[in-house]
Symmetry: C2
Subunit: 436 residues, 2 copies
């Protein structure tokens, strides 16, 4: 009836729909975690080795210098107004200086720096500035799931290149190169890397650059963990190794300065031969959408970047490295587990020989049962497109690492079966006998 | 040569392109302003009546309570970590309470609140959650140009409904309704409004709601200037007037608390009859892209919203209202100008009878020459899709308003021609005589 009165081209009832973008913006980790049926063992206090926020346990804190700089910026009340859409000049200048290692032979201009709402917004801007619907971007597997979250809703295809656990998580370069076609808009690398704690040497990075040079492919470098490397490991900014290939480097205060909630990130445009063309303006256009990040922190940035002492960074690395060593040594001894010692960042991946745990279907099931029996919560590797691994964070207090390793070992011992094939055959026999 | 070695489907040279999104994300104001050939008169100090940042002149400041709340949040060092992607619970609770007027008969749940990086990001989320490429959104003309900036690059069409200067900038409802078709995803209203300083009464808002009800159209309400109304004017939240039509209300600290740089905004979802369906989840999905806004301000929000006294807001309104009156009275007397007295927000639109200024082509030219002769910089109405108007901001110190009105009057007197038609005929005759 109502429909008759309405001219064609009009709606006849409430049928609001979520946009394609909104429907296809997914956080894979949340999806998997919410599917878990978890009831932590009430007799054991929960140990969350899953939480990527390093500030949550109280053992890792922003430096006094960082906090003082922000106090000063608030007290001066000079940083309440709008900044330019790319950020305050002084802050961009400070970031350019702080990032000199990314372009050692030539000064970085503040004009090459865009301040963003966290490294997440930096990555969003770079991906969306370079890739159109129907195009594709190469990202690492295992890798940080935000890349997919950002691309999929925009109809940008994600193609995974593999990181090899038995080669210190170096990329499978052959497979990487085979993924490239005329619709590939960028190669995204994450170094140092989440979730593997991988750190690439100059040689490996140069091989990636060679591939990009051969295929005229710009690089998006997620270096949010820059400088976050364990003793005797060197961090090399990929932008420092090439004049030919344009690199958009994404960084921020989040990890190194331990202030993830402040949402202060940045993009540094390295385009020595002006090969990005119009895309640099495109990137800057995108700044006009949400007008950047909090100005108090921008006001504090010059002090934060200059005054935080090396000893502060060293202390954080020491804590992470010692946790990594402790966990690695303890878990290496556990049957059915294959921890891969990280070289930096904040995480360790642990392989599971799932065939030795017949009661556990896969990494997701493994994680679920370990919560239910031992109250230890790791993230399944599936969250990072990497089944049969689990990821632990190294930012927790040492006691937690120690205690969780004991419990993980107990869990594995309980479920480990030496020769799974034999076990299966035996049970098959049993089944056969039941079935007459 | 090189091309021969490369298999098909591979690129043969550097040809990086900006994405469609990046190419089509424009700030119209910047575009127009950059096209101006401006050389301020060196004998007169510049008066920028163009700048939308109310904090820039020093006469309008954040309240002591606001600044203290942030200091406290920094000092406690409890707000450095990640918040949930929708924001901290306590902050969302505080926003829900603060926004009770938007839904007077029923409590707003913190679950209806999403904290964003400024009101800009709130608007982006709402538009992108509801509208797909090929769909359209109705927005006001004159209106804030960000709506277009956000939509166009996503291939979402903007359709303008007119605000009528001789009807206190009320919307032309008939024309508005005629724009709606089956691809219309939402009606966006901005009340109180930029650039007009319009404030709508309940009756006018209800007529808009009726239209939306007839056409099953959700409303995006940009109420960043909520409560920002002059004495004896009432601000009514459109969400308070309907149970039928879903409303996404965008707000934030930016204007009322005078801290635009802090990038703290929010969306409040009013969907009494669950008509947004999946789009509410879609909106929340979008939070996962950049992970919201600065946590220090989120930590301070409960105090900011509760402790800032009414007297502070009253003081700001008083200053704006007195500036508005002063400018209105002075410019009303100027031949060729038609100021429209605003009812709220921070701006006034001034009509130009451009036919009386034969030396000046249009509002853009008018603005340019006023800078060059009088060092007074207003924004051309074209920045808001409204030619033959100029916009001035009311947030400058009173002396600046006074002085600029004198100069604007001088400028207009100099260029005003009483009977332009006669003038044109005369010059035509002259031309004819030159041409034998
Ligand atoms: C590899 C990687 N990139 C980017 C980010 C996001 O950083 P931000 O919190 O600054 O958005 C993270 C956070 O965990 C990360 O691990
Ligand atoms: C009508 C309107 N909406 C939204 C905004 C953006 O607010 P924010 O600075 O919080 O992003 C403005 C800023 O001028 C505005 O005038």
């Amino acid at each position: 009836l109502a429909a008759m009165e309405v001219p064609t081209g009009k709606r006849t009832g409430w049928q609001v729909q979520s946009s394609f973008l909104a429907r296809h913006t997914h956080n894979m980790i949340r999806g998997i975690v919410e599917s878990l049926k978890m009831k932590p063992n009430p007799e054991k206090p929960m140990i969350p080795l899953s939480i990527g926020d390093p500030t949550i346990f109280g053992n890792l804190k922003a430096s006094d210098e960082t906090m003082k700089a922000v106090l000063k910026a608030v007290e001066g009340a000079k940083f309440n107004g709008y900044a330019g859409s790319m950020g305050h000049d002084a802050a961009r200048q400070a970031i350019a200086k702080y990032s000199a290692h990314q372009r050692p032979d030539m000064e970085i201009s503040p004009n090459d720096v865009v301040i963003t709402s966290g490294c997440s917004a930096a990555l969003e801007m770079c991906i969306l500035a370079l890739a159109d619907r129907g195009q594709n971007v190469l990202v690492p597997r295992p890798g940080f799931c935000l890349y997919k979250t950002l691309a999929e809703g925009m109809n940008i295809e994600i193609r995974y290149y593999d990181l090899l656990p038995d080669q210190e998580w170096r990329a499978d370069l052959k497979q990487m190169e085979s993924l490239i076609d005329e619709n590939t808009a960028a190669l995204l690398i994450n170094n140092p890397g989440n979730p593997c704690g991988s750190v690439y040497d100059a040689d490996h990075l140069k091989r990636m650059i060679d591939i990009c040079e051969r295929h005229y492919l710009p690089i998006i470098a997620d270096e949010i963990y820059e400088h976050f490397v364990f003793p005797d490991v060197e961090y090399v900014a990929i932008s420092s190794l090439t004049h030919e290939v344009p690199v958009l480097t994404c960084g921020g205060l989040t990890k190194r300065f331990l202030v993830p909630g402040w949402r202060t990130g940045w993009v540094i445009v390295h385009d020595r031969k002006q090969r990005l063309g119009d895309a640099v303006n495109g990137l800057k256009n995108l700044c006009g959408r949400i007008l950047g990040s909090n100005t108090i922190v921008q006001g504090a940035l010059p002090d934060i970047l200059v005054k935080t002492p090396q000893s502060y960074f060293d202390g954080v690395i020491e804590l992470l490295h010692s946790n990594a060593l402790m966990a690695y040594r303890a878990l290496k001894k556990v049957r059915g587990l294959n921890p891969v010692m990280p070289k930096g960042a904040m995480y360790m991946m642990i392989g599971i020989s799932i065939e030795h745990f017949p009661a556990l279907k896969d990494d997701v099931h493994f994680v679920q049962e370990m919560v239910n029996e031992q109250s230890v919560f790791c993230l399944p590797g599936s969250c990072f497109q990497c089944p049969n691994f689990i990821r632990i964070v190294l930012t927790v207090p040492a006691e937690m690492i120690e205690e969780s390793c004991v419990r993980i070992a107990e869990f594995c011992e309980l479920h480990y079966k030496k020769d799974t094939r034999a076990f299966i055959e035996h049970s098959t026999l049993l089944d056969g006998s039941v079935n007459f």
